[in-house]
Each structure stands twice: as C-alpha cells, then as structure tokens.
Symmetry: C2
Subunit: 326 residues, 2 copies
Amino acid sequence: MIRASQHRVVAVVGTGVVGRSWMRVFARAGLETRIWDLDPVQTDLAWDWYKSDQKRIRKQGGMRKAVARNERSNVIRCDDLAEALAGATWVQESCPENLETKRAVFADLDRLADPKAVLASSTASLDMTLIAEGLGGAGRCLVAHPVNPPHVIPLVEVLGGQGTDPLAIRRAIRFLERVGQTPVLLRRYAPGFLLNRLQAALLREALHLVATGVARADAIETVVKDGLGLRWAFLGPFDVPNTNADGGIREYFARRGDVLGALWDDLGKGNPLTPELIERVGETLDAMHRQVAPENLREWRDDMIVRLRRLKAMHPPGGEPEPEEE
Amino acid sequence: MIRASQHRVVAVVGTGVVGRSWMRVFARAGLETRIWDLDPVQTDLAWDWYKSDQKRIRKQGGMRKAVARNERSNVIRCDDLAEALAGATWVQESCPENLETKRAVFADLDRLADPKAVLASSTASLDMTLIAEGLGGAGRCLVAHPVNPPHVIPLVEVLGGQGTDPLAIRRAIRFLERVGQTPVLLRRYAPGFLLNRLQAALLREALHLVATGVARADAIETVVKDGLGLRWAFLGPFDVPNTNADGGIREYFARRGDVLGALWDDLGKGNPLTPELIERVGETLDAMHRQVAPENLREWRDDMIVRLRRLKAMHPPGGEPEPEEE
C-alpha cells in the first residue's frame, strides 16, 4: 500500500449532493479528481454547482479567482467508470443508500480499480461487512462517512467491515487528514454510527418536549443555538462537565450520578413522531422563517461554519491568546 | 409592576460560581448591582474573581481599563440581606441547590424585598410551585435558570410555578433581554428543564457508545466539536434537517421516519454509569489533556464563545454577506 502523501489521483463515484462536496474536498487539496455518475446529467450538475458555489464565495471575498480556477482544473469529468478509476488510489463512493446498489457498485470498483486503491463508501447506515461480502478485495473496502457537506464540515466517521485490513483503516485516517478532514475511528458497526445516534438521541428528546407541551419548537432551537451549541462547538459532551467541575469528570459523575440517573429515567422513550407533532413543529419553523428562506439559512450556516473553523484554527487551545481589537 | 427599562437596582443573593457570573451580567448592563452571600467570605471571593477575570480579558485586548472600572463601580458589596435588597426591582437568587434552603431564602426575600420586585431563582432542577408554596408574593416568584457561566452564554430558561403571575413572566423575559441574555419560555415544569434534558439525552448515548465498545471517548468528543457542534452553534435540532432536506422538516420526517424509529429503538436505555466506565472515560480525557489543563481549557472555551457570539452578531442570517480578507 502507498503512503498518504503518495496519493495523486482520486475517483469520486456518484456525484449527488454528497459526492459533489467530496469533489471539492479533493480538488482543493490539489489532487486530480476524476468524477463519474451512472447518470451523466448528475456529473454535469455537479460541475455547474461547483462553478456557481465558487462564484458565490468569490463574491463574498472569500476566494480569489485564480484559486477557484486552479481548484477546478483538478477535476476531470469521465464518461465511464473505468476511465474515472484510471490511476486512482482513493475511490470515494457516494451512490444511493441501498445495500444492493452498493454491493453492485463495489463489485465493479473491486474489479476495475488499481489494486493499490482504497475503496471508501460514504454510506450513512450500511455495514461494510455486507457491502464487501465475497469480494476478493474486501480487505481494502471501508466506510468513510462524511457530515453534510464535507467541504464545510470536516468530520468523517471511519470503520471497516469484518474483512477490512487494519492497514487500510490506518491509511484512510492519514489520507483524510491530509486532505483537511477530521477522521474518527469506530471500533465496530452500530446502526447510525456515532453522529447520527447522538443526533437522534437529542432530537427524540426535543420532540418529546414539544409533544408533552413543555416548550415550543422555537424555544428548543434557541436552547441549542444560544446554549448547548456554543459549548459543543469547542468541547464535546464529556469535556463540558470535565472542565466545568473542579474535580473533573470523575467527581462530576460521582456527585451528579443520582440526579443524572433520575433524569435519564424521565426522558422520552420510543418513537414520539405523529402527523400532528410533525405539523406542529413545521408550523413553528415556518413562522420562524418568514424573514429568511430555509435555503438561504443553509447557505448562511455553511458560511458561518467556515468562519467558525477559521476562528478555531487561529486560536487553538493552549496557544497564546492573540490581542484583539475592541 | 415596572417596565424593563425602569430597573435601576438589582440584588444578587448568593455569590458562588453562578451568582458571581450574574453579577457581571447586571453590572456590565449598567445596573446598580448589590451582592450578598450568607457567607461573607464568598462575597469577597466573588469580588476578587471579578477583578482578576477583567484583568485577564484586558490582557487579551478585549476590554479597556476604563470600561472595567466603570463596570465594577456598579457593584456594591452588602453585609446583610435587607441592605442588598434595598431598592432592588430584580432579585437573582443563586444559593445552594436544595429545596429547604431555597424555601427559607424565598421566604426572606418575599418579606424584605420591594413589593414591585421580581424574585428569580437560578435553580437548575427545583419546581417554583414548591419553592414559593404559601408565600404571599408567590405571584412574583419564578425560575430564571442560566447556563454556566451566564456572562458568557446568553441562554436563560424562564418558567413560573402554579402561583406565578403571567405578567411577572413577561416582565422577566423583557428584563433578561434588556441585560443582553436570551430568555426562553417553558410552558410547564419538567425535571432538568430543556437544556439539561437535551444534554442528558446526548450524554447517555455518548456513554452507551463507549460502554458497548463502538468508539472511544475521544472519538465522541471529536464527533461533537468537529461535527454536530459546528451546526448546532448556528441552527437547532429541528432547523438542521429543515434546511438540509429540500422539502423541509415535514418531508424529512416523512422520508426518514422509519429509519429514525429504528435508530431510536436501538439507542442506549436506562443508566449506563458504572465505576469502570467512569474510569475509562476519565483516563481517555486525561490522555487528551496532557498538553492543556482542564481549567485552561475552560478559560479557552469561554474566550472562544465570546468570539463566536461576536461573529454571530456581525453576520446575522438574512443579512448582506460582508466582504472578508483571505
């Protein structure tokens, strides 16, 4: 296998919303990025989106024209899969989320790709043990699940199937770091991996609180974006109590374990979704967004995340505090 | 009752970690802030902390000396409760979290405070119905639960007991907005209110994932601070799917309801805490923090949250994007 620094060519297989964002990650890291989709219209749409999104960022002064051109010149649109895979040592598959589709695509990838290539799936839910079952190259198949959109949010969940070579996992971690992402390792498969499970746990309680009349959906939005989210942008769920309690997390759990236990018993259980509840949440959000349309809000969010990441890169923990103007 | 703009004097009763942070919120909003604690040593400690924290912020260039002095000149240290309450129209109680203590303190507050004053408790868990039971002034008693520390994080959870006058609640919301906080209204009591319930739901799943060997605690930290937390700093748990899905949240729940339901069934239940699990998480965090001590990390986090809030204030959703240097 090859080192992270030796990757020159990558293939993006499937260029929907997730694949096209991966394309930007690889192209801006300076890699030759060969893109292909079963539906050629999708490949062109991805290309158009790339150009218009770069234009939008340039308008805000966030990117020079020369940089944008240089990034795009790394992208090569391919008409067939074999052409897309030619010379690629990293293959990022982002096809529809369906086991039979993924199995068929991975059989093609394993047959056509360079023997040195790692084959990574963007799947958010499927088990690589099943996707790569029976493939000669199962050892090089793994999951690299991004957060949408990966060119804005760096986290990637990495895990193998039962047949995955530990060397391929280590290689994936290093490669993803090299292209500017933040990989985390899962030791085994669990439905929803880490991110979607943690998100689902919070979302269920949010729905439960609306369903039981404790608060409206807009109050819960505020609790997260003006409360919990401000801390979680910098420290995770263990480090928040670890840094709040003077004795650290051991003392926190020793002192608060009973209160937490009672709270856990009281949380919502099962599936709170009903058509009435969905409509109630939808109406509250509609009222919240009379001023700003959801698509503009998504664009705003992504721009703000880029700014926040720049802020974090400028002020790492433990670094010298920078003087700042008032 | 009086208008939000008519408050001139506030009393901070109990000057531990939470009370002293409230003191800064009120003093920097230009209010005469009278502080008192049952233990006079605590009052002096709060004062010393205020001075040293301002000094630290000044060193980073975040505050002028004159501003710091002006803020502090609004604080008056009082030797007895009646003196602290003299003329105060908002009383913020932050005594130890114990029903009998709170009941005794609120009886004193109701007897000694100006009849126009709102009596607000910082309690994180107690029901105002019980705290204010039997008081003549139960109508003006309510919960205003901050997130630690309130001079950094703006969210305040507001709710009344069964006897609370709705006018007092409306007045509290307006007053808290005036001093720069972000109040949210709870329609009824639930243990843990909103924030601690949502946080507990995520924390339980985080513990469950470590306990069942899916990932290490440091991986979960990364998933939150480089993934979920980046989005939740700007949009809450309903608006993330609402803006991600092209058809909004109704379409999201219609399409993903079954997958979510299965995920909810699979999440950790009950109380995952064991001495072994606490130790395992503690050891991972210790290893993560060999470079930066937890108290420095807490200071860093608070400084970063101030910077993030400034960023959000500069770029509101729906505003014109600002040109930015590269």
